[in-house]
Structure formats: structure tokens, C-alpha cells
């Protein structure tokens, strides 16, 4: 079973749990983003470079990460 099949297989069982999983994964992604944006900054990456790597604008990543 590939990943997409796995994800779809769980559909419809319990919306509350499916939606919760989305929140949990988003939270995980946010945390991962914080860690790696900070790491990139420490290594001298510009906001522009980080934004490009994340697929968002320089302003978006700057705003989200604080300074």
C-alpha cells in the first residue's frame, strides 16, 4: 500500500481523529520549521534564501519567525 492509499484508507472512520491528525502534523511541521529556519540563519542564510527554500515570500518567513 503506498502512502496515498494509506492516507485514504483512514478516511471516514472518525473525522475528529482525522482532523486532529492534521493539527498534530501541522504543529510538528511548525516546530520543524522553527528549528531549521533558526539553523539556516545561524549559518548565514538570508531571509530571501530561506523563503525560496520554503516556497514562501521573504516577508512571510520573516514575519513568522520573528526577527
Amino acid at each position: 500500500m503506498d502512502l496515498n492509499e494509506t492516507l485514504v484508507a483512514a478516511e471516514g472512520e472518525d473525522p475528529a481523529m482525522g482532523l486532529r491528525a492534521v493539527v498534530v502534523l501541522r504543529r510538528l511541521a511548525d516546530r520543524l520549521e522553527e528549528i531549521h529556519v533558526a539553523s539556516a540563519r545561524r549559518q548565514g542564510w538570508t531571509w530571501q534564501q530561506i523563503g525560496d527554500a520554503l516556497g514562501v515570500s521573504r516577508q512571510a518567513v520573516h514575519k513568522k519567525s520573528g526577527r
Binding site: T6, D14, A16, L25, R27, L28, R31, E34, G66, R67
Partner: protein, 170 residues
């Protein structure tokens, strides 16, 4: 509404906000109120709460379990939630300053706690009214999920708490 809250009830709200922030959640929900209530003094013997008497740390474990179970439910490895990623641990959370709103469900619980107080003829809204209100959340609420995980008999708990509160007044 908050002006009628007792010191304990205010503390529950404040703690729930901190709990939501610490977990990295974007809103304050009933699961955060549950953790806060678990660490708050109540005007009756906590053992009346039966399986819900697990303390704040025990409640946090229940939220972690719910999160892990939700990942498993959509086919992910539940161990993806490594403890080091679960808590805010060590990461500078600059967004922690951001204002967090209550979920619709949590607003409902706060409003219903006022009605619980009125129904009981109490002049102030205390942690006990918030608890009674939380016991009545709809099944899709995260708090209801935690009650189910703990196999709590909500009808009995409610009756026991109501009886203890009635004895206190009498």
C-alpha cells in the same frame, strides 16, 4: 462574564492559555481546560472524579495519547511524536507572544459554566461549575475523547459531584 469567576476559575483559564501555548496549539480548547482543571483545587474530594482524577501531568499524557492515536488513525507512525518535539523544549518560540483565541467549544463550556452556577443558585462561577460544564461536551470534542480514553462514567461522576456540592451548601 469573567468578573463573576472565582480566583480558582480565573486560574484555570490562565493555566489553559499557558497549556495551549506550551503544546504549540493555535487555539485554547477544552482539552487545555481539562489539564488546567486537573491541577486546580476543587471544593470536594478529588477522588469523586474517579478515573478522571489523574492530575495535570496525567491529563497531559492523555492529550499526548490522543495526538498519537490520531496519527495512527490516518496511517502514520504514532511514534512520530517524539517527546523532544512534543514540548516547546529549547526552541525559541517567538510566536508565543501571539494572542490565542478560544475554540468555539471552549467558549461554549465557559458560557455553560455560568448557566451551571445559575442553575445551582451560586453567585460565583467556580472551577466546579467549569468541571460540570466540561462533563457535558459533545462527543466530537477533544475533551470527550479524553473522557472515553479514561473510560470515565460521566453520569456517575456528575451525580457524585452534584451530591457533594449539595452537601457543602446544606
Amino acid at each position: 462574564m469573567f468578573e463573576r469567576f472565582t480566583k480558582e476559575a480565573r486560574q484555570v483559564v490562565t493555566t489553559a492559555v499557558a497549556e495551549a501555548r506550551a503544546r504549540g496549539d493555535s487555539r485554547i480548547g477544552n482539552e487545555h481546560l481539562l489539564v488546567a482543571l486537573a491541577g486546580t483545587q476543587l471544593p470536594f474530594d478529588r477522588s469523586l472524579l474517579g478515573p478522571l482524577d489523574v492530575g495535570a501531568e496525567g491529563m497531559r499524557d492523555q492529550l499526548d495519547r490522543m495526538d498519537s492515536d490520531s496519527l495512527a488513525a490516518v496511517g502514520f507512525d504514532p511514534d512520530l511524536l517524539h517527546p523532544s518535539l512534543r514540548a516547546a523544549g529549547g526552541v525559541d518560540r517567538s510566536r508565543a507572544r501571539r494572542h490565542l483565541a478560544f475554540t468555539h467549544g471552549a467558549k461554549g463550556v465557559l458560557e455553560r459554566s455560568l448557566r451551571e452556577a445559575v442553575r445551582r443558585g451560586d453567585r460565583h462561577i467556580g472551577a466546579e461549575h467549569m468541571l460540570l460544564s466540561l462533563l457535558a461536551v459533545p462527543p466530537e470534542d477533544p475533551a470527550a475523547r479524553v473522557f472515553a480514553q479514561l473510560e470515565a462514567d460521566l453520569v456517575t461522576i456528575r451525580a457524585d459531584v452534584e451530591a457533594a456540592l449539595a452537601r457543602r451548601v446544606a
